[in-house]
Symmetry: C2
Subunit: 448 residues, 2 copies
């Protein structure tokens, strides 16, 4: 079993509610929508990612014999429910924004229409899958905005929150435009380009630094990058200059050097000068070490001679904002709009669509959220993904998803492009949605 596939990746209350729904015959059709209630502080937009994993999970959704045996053993559930679970498959409809789409608060990014007990059961893992990749794609998109034209690589597997997080972060940052990742399994699973140099321990395992550089170069001559900050980067750059002609005689080219600590602006300048004066003008400087979009923006602004950045922990944990306020809410049951009115957690009822307008130059000009069918100006963002439990379109390739993400970033208004100051974007509520909301409120007041 791949642990991520288990339908028991759910909260106990989902199973409790299922038994109550089944006992009370509440198995009518429900529409749930997934949306972000508020942008994380400092963010101007979000980017959707994770839909491919959601569809794969729904297509394979079933309880395995050992899972059913466990549920029976707990004594919590009646025979009717256990029988229902044994046969349960995902038979519903899904509409969603394609991966790589830029989106804003209150806009549904995914809708599930299915029998209530089934649609409810999916909530926990569905949120879990979508929120993380969307969180990381958004973070990576900000790094892209901070370093236009630079080579950006995900270095963050080790401090991601577990194996799945590390892999999904590699995928989500690639969706947003990163050149690749250091995580090897991401290449095997998804064909994402992988990057890698050497670690400090390699240098430390040798008695001196230049011997370490030479032995590594001869063993791994392709795409050769040398790590030069184990002791002193500028001194190490001199060793690189001394070594380069010797390696060149054997057909080995040093492609780049990496600095992983210290004042990266000053060190990159010092190293660049040593390399240039030593005839190594083609050796690029690559940096890493505790970087995020704000520190990278400052380094770029300072004009440091750096060709690429490895971004680790800050990326794969979305360190400054590790949480999306994302929810999956019942919007309609048995053909009637539903609404939650708890303090600060109000939702809009009904099945919704998002329309997006662009200015003449292609820039995003404003969105409208309204009910499906309440046609507005602009393109619609949610499209059919599954019908009756079956995928209804080809899965887009990562290349297509990356193209959509790139187009979305290119179309961001200027006010949304500055990673240090968040900007606002106009999202309006359509008339039909406003009317339904008022109608649901009147009904709740009458029954309250």
């Amino acid at each position: 079993m791949n642990i991520g596939d288990s339908p028991l990746l759910t909260d106990l209350y989902q199973l409790n509610m299922m038994q109550a729904y089944l006992a009370n015959g509440l198995s009518g059709t429900a529409a749930f929508e997934l949306f972000v209630r508020r942008l994380p502080p400092g963010r101007s937009f979000m980017m959707a990612a994770g839909l491919e994993q959601v569809v794969a999970w729904l297509e394979g959704f079933r309880f395995a014999p050992d899972e059913l045996a466990y549920l029976e053993r707990t004594g919590r559930f009646d025979a009717k429910m256990l029988d229902y679970l044994a046969d349960l498959r995902f038979t519903g409809d899904v509409d969603a924004m394609p991966e790589g789409t830029v989106f804003f608060p209150n806009e549904p990014i995914l809708r599930v229409v299915a029998p209530l007990p089934l649609a409810q059961l999916l909530e926990s893992r569905l949120i879990n899958l979508m929120q993380f990749q969307s969180l990381i794609a958004t973070k990576a998109a900000r790094v892209m905005l901070a370093a236009p034209g630079k080579v950006l690589v995900d270095f963050g597997f080790r401090r991601a929150h577990g194996a799945e997080a590390g892999l999904m972060a590699a995928r989500a940052s690639y969706v947003a435009g990163f050149a690749g990742t250091a995580t090897v399994l991401a290449e095997m699973l998804w064909g994402i380009p992988i990057y890698g140099t050497m670690a400090h321990s390699y240098v430390q395992a040798h008695e001196d630094e230049i011997a370490a550089f030479e032995s590594f170069a001869r063993a791994r001559p392709d795409n050769l990058t040398l790590l030069i900050d184990t002791y002193d980067p500028v001194a190490a750059a001199k060793k690189v200059v001394a070594l380069a002609p010797k390696l060149a005689r054997d057909g080995i080219t040093i492609q780049s050097v990496r600095i992983d600590s210290g004042d990266l602006v000053a060190l990159s300048r010092g190293v660049r000068q040593v390399l240039d004066e030593g005839g190594c003008r083609d050796v690029k400087v690559f940096v890493s070490g505790g970087l995020d979009e704000e520190s990278i923006a400052a380094i770029v602004k300072a004009g440091a001679p750096i060709a690429g950045y490895g971004v680790g922990t800050a990326l794969t944990t979305s360190q400054d904002q590790p949480v999306l306020d994302i929810v999956y809410k019942l919007q309609e049951y048995d053909g009637v709009g539903r609404r939650k009115r708890s303090a600060d957690k109000q939702t809009f009822p009904g099945r919704k669509q998002v329309w997006r307008r662009h200015a003449a130059d292609g820039t995003l000009a404003g969105d409208v959220i309204s009910l499906v069918g309440d046609r507005q100006e602009g393109e619609t963002l949610l499209a059919p993904v599954m019908r009756d439990g079956v995928g209804v379109r080809h899965d887009p390739s990562l290349a297509e998803i990356r193209a959509r993400a790139a187009a979305g970033l290119a179309a961001l208004p200027a006010a949304l492009r500055d990673v240090s100051t968040p900007g606002a974007y106009p999202v309006a509520i359509g008339e039909a949605l406003t009317a339904l909301t008022a109608e649901v409120d009147r009904r709740i007041a009458a029954h309250g």
Copy 2:
């Protein structure tokens, strides 16, 4: 394949270095240690967790045929390395602090002694596994300190960073003393108690709230908790009071009510008063909704009549500090101490042990880090876990681990118990370690 078991959960540079090590005959014995360089801001201590998963991963460590085929297909690696990988098993030694141990910066929490190419390859996943559970156990320990005697439950699966993160957070918070989790699979895998009530959608799926309460109660009468904040908690409490005698006649007891939004201090008081005046003195008030150790400490201090707390997102993402500055560093190769001296990233060389002293009343009184064999006063914290790739002691049960964690929290000095103000703890460096560090520096200077 369970994705978490893949040896390709590693950075490409680990494989690059391995090929260079093998090409250069650098397969002598290496000692790597895992340690936290600095406490996250605001933290006073850390708690170790995740060792059981590390041992299981090392015991099962091997490259599967499809993984070897992929590596060969990339064309990056030579036949010697591919042969080496095909036969590779973990054959090394591991010493570690038991799970549930309180620890401090620079203290090794785990040491691997193995041939250099193997020990190096493990780095990425080993950090990934240990840092996350330790991060969450630490966060959960802080919640324990904030709410002594309360029932604390992990509600955070959905916003954890993926499936593994959600599961490991359930385990790590249970290690630290939580009563249980909402995540069902955690009970199946580890026997962790699970808790669950109902969601707002259950109430919304009914035309009125009291009908929802009654239908749920009859379908799920055991450990019955009703969620009372879908519309108005105090009004809902009156419905609970009205419903209780009717359910009691059928032998159904309402155990508690849950409030998930709003001013929890004011609402819990209002609800408590309605319940008490309505003859429901035994119905407990449970709360949830965006809670962390600081908000819980404030609620406890205000004397709110609350018996338990569900802690979600803030717990499972360690939201205020989602990252541990934890590293796995080469400390010795071929019998000689090694040291990294990069700016702000210096390490102490050699194989180390931690000695801990307690005051007469049992309170932690200070630690000393020194070389293994440089005997100090107090108990030693690292113990043998694996020898030649095989576990050398029984795996402690979760009950034993929880007892160790509870004893560690009980022994914390007063200055380390306040979750709003971090306190300092004395950790000294032993004489033998100081001497070795100076010796390694002299050697680096001579070869630099």
